[in-house]
């Protein structure tokens, strides 16, 4: 959503937020394949304040993983390219930095955790080696003793028991939850200001998931790191996020404070997504579901991208992409009917 189009319609009060630590403006990342241009990220804007957790919710095909990679400039090349936009971290546009400077920034000021801990850890090296490498990349003068000490404290900070033994383990010798903690330790070794976590709990068990999210919260309290949490699970959002942005077909269709989005979603996709979750407490007669499929990112319609599946769609929805409408407390939605009360309020 572009900044200029914000706060239209029935917006009442715009709550003033502190200066953001990360500000993304109109980010576009396209993939070039022989089947055409795939607009994975097609004009995404959001802000993250210090110590805040922003959840980005989307299903597969929404572009959320490419978004995560774009923020740290690790998109696959030459197939993809960050077309335009800005990613401003502490006043500096990361997209304008040289490769060398970006390498210095990556890992120290902004860091990333990937979804599958299996992929982040090299199976033929011990944990200790990998941690040491992560440390030495940015701190080339550290002595072996220093690196060892920092490795131990990194593992302690993520509550890995018996860290000395863990350092000698190979990745396949430790559990999934433990691996995810090690990866987290590596990402936070230099106390970055922003941590991008791409589906960090998807591969974890239910009981481990809860622990891990709690760990992230604790680390955030201790270091003040801001977290951008990419997920497809609203449960994760409910548990861990302060604000949430819903992504569909390369764009953010709604964003706002987490309680507000749960209580008062303004975009039909958000509402449908929230409604289609089965519950443990009550069994409805039939589970509401969303018909159809998301559009191909290389074959996007001119109008609203959710229109073919939307039960409230009208002609104007097909004609042009909706403007962004603003609501109380920096709640934004891109829908022509966002201001209407399409469903009963909670």
């Amino acid at each position: 959503m572009s900044e200029a189009a914000a706060a239209k319609g029935p917006a009442k009060v715009r709550i003033n937020r502190p200066e953001p630590v990360l500000k993304v403006s109109d980010l576009k990342t396209y993939l070039y394949t022989r089947w055409g241009v795939t607009k994975a990220v097609d004009g995404v804007s959001f802000e993250v304040c210090p110590g805040e957790t922003l959840g980005i919710v989307g299903e597969s095909g929404s572009g959320k993983s490419m978004l995560a990679l774009s923020l740290v400039r690790l998109t696959p090349e030459p197939a993809s390219r960050i077309e335009s936009g800005q990613v401003i971290l502490n006043g500096r546009d990361l997209l304008a930095l040289s490769d060398k400077k970006m390498r210095e920034v990556r890992g120290t000021e902004i860091s990333m955790i990937l979804q599958d801990p299996q992929q982040s850890l090299n199976p033929v090296f011990r944990i200790g080696n990998q941690l040491a490498e992560a440390i030495r990349v940015h701190d080339t003068d550290a002595t072996r003793a220093e690196v060892y000490g920092r490795s131990i404290s990194a593992l302690e900070s993520v509550h890995v028991p018996a860290p000395e033994r863990r350092l000698r383990n190979y990745p396949h010798e430790i559990s999934g939850g433990m691996k995810q903690r090690v990866v987290g330790a590596m990402a936070l070794a230099f106390q970055p200001q922003v941590l991008i976590a791409d589906e960090p709990t998807t591969a974890l068990d239910v009981t481990i998931q809860a622990q891990y999210l709690r760990l992230l919260e604790e680390l955030q309290e201790r270091t003040g790191v801001s977290i951008v949490l990419i997920t497809h699970d609203f449960g994760v959002v409910a548990e861990a996020c302060d604000r949430v942005a819903v992504m569909y077909a390369g764009r953010i269709v709604e964003q706002g404070p987490v309680e507000e989005i749960f209580d008062n979603p303004r975009h039909p996709y958000t509402k449908a997504l929230l409604d289609s979750r089965p519950r443990v407490d009550v069994v409805p007669e039939r589970l509401p579901s969303i018909e159809g499929q998301p559009p191909a990112l290389n074959d996007l319609p001119a109008g609203c991208r959710f229109e073919p599946r939307c039960r409230y769609a009208e002609d104007r929805c097909r004609a042009a992409y909706p403007d962004v409408v603003g609501f109380y407390d920096n709640h934004l939605a891109a829908c022509w009917k966002a201001g209407e009360d399409l469903w009963p309020a909670r």
Partner: protein, 317 residues
């Protein structure tokens, strides 16, 4: 009903029936409808290699009788050691010269192509069939079957090919059949090893479990579920092994353990020109060049084929 209808999500798709167009699966998958449609992407085809194979090996082999005028087996002694046409002393009735028996080089090269083609296709076919069957059985059943087959594979890999060939030839005499047998014996092992490895991994796939639950027996599973997924690698391997077989045959023929004289195998022709190498270089040169070109062409085509078939078949999510 064409694929196009399901590929685009335009209009109101019915519940769950339109193909998901999620990145990055859909674009790749929509094109993979029929295998032969992939051939339409002609950008990086190794045209030169394929032309060489066609013009130096295939066409001469098939049309040998039609395009030659001389007898490949008997020559005119009076015309022996004629140089190629463009050199002084040569004549255009013997475009590439003659050997020491006065036989036309070009004719012999063309008939030699037929021999190379026959030997390589038959050998590879036999090797592929034996290797695939054994590899499938070993990979799927494991246990003793695997141990026996693996031991066989290891043994055959370590056989000294040339020595073995010499022994066999000494025992039963050189002939076309002999050399096919010898070469098949050395060529089945790589196929078996490859197929065994792939079967081991395919065996664990969920679609095999599903077929087992459906009640399919091992025969059906191997034929319909495992083999088709291994086939691509086999095709690539076969292409790459053609070069190996041709060189092996040429080497054996060179030392006299292959195609018996006077048949014009390229290897035999190279051997024949050995003692004349300084004065009649063309006798060894042209067959050697033919071997080089054809083997190189097959290797390049095989490499391209491997890249062409391989990543597209990675049906990842």
């Amino acid at each position: 009903m064409t694929t196009r209808e399901i590929r685009t999500g335009a209009g109101k798709p019915e519940a769950g029936l339109a193909t998901s167009a999620a990145l990055p699966r859909q674009p790749a998958d929509a094109q993979q409808v029929r295998g032969w449609r992939r051939l339409k992407r002609l950008e990086r085809m190794p045209w030169i290699s394929i032309s060489i194979i066609v013009f130096v090996l295939l066409l001469p082999a098939i049309f040998a009788d039609l395009i030659t005028t001389h007898d490949p087996l008997r020559g005119t002694l009076a015309d022996r050691l004629t140089p190629p046409a463009w050199i002084e002393g040569g004549t255009w009735s013997y475009p590439l010269g003659t050997d020491k028996q006065g036989r036309d080089m070009l004719t012999r090269l063309i008939y030699g192509a037929r021999i190379s083609l026959a030997v390589s296709t038959i050998t590879i076919f036999i090797g592929l069939v034996i290797g695939s069957i054994l590899g499938l059985l070993a990979g799927y059943f494991g246990g003793w079957t695997d141990r026996v087959v693996s031991w066989l594979i290891d043994t055959f890999f370590s056989l000294p090919g040339v020595l073995l060939a010499l022994v066999i030839v000494a025992a039963i005499g050189p002939s076309f059949v002999t050399i096919v047998v010898i070469l098949s014996v050395t060529i089945w092992a790589p196929f078996a090893r490859q197929v065994r490895g792939e079967t081991l991994s395919v065996r664990e796939a969920e679609f095999v479990a599903r077929a087992q639950v459906a009640g399919a027996g091992p025969g059906r599973i191997l034929a319909k579920h495992v083999l088709p997924n291994v086939a691509n690698t086999l095709i690539v391997m076969a292409t790459l092994q053609v070069g190996v077989v041709i060189i092996n045959e040429s080497s054996l023929s060179f030392i006299g353990a292959g195609i018996p004289r006077p048949n014009p195998s390229w290897g035999v022709m190279v051997a024949d020109g050995r003692d004349q190498i300084l004065i009649a270089w063309w006798i060894s040169f042209f067959p050697g060049l033919a071997i080089l070109l054809v083997v190189l062409a097959f290797n390049l085509t095989g490499d391209w084929l491997r890249d062409f078939l391989d990543p597209k078949l990675r049906q990842r999510q």
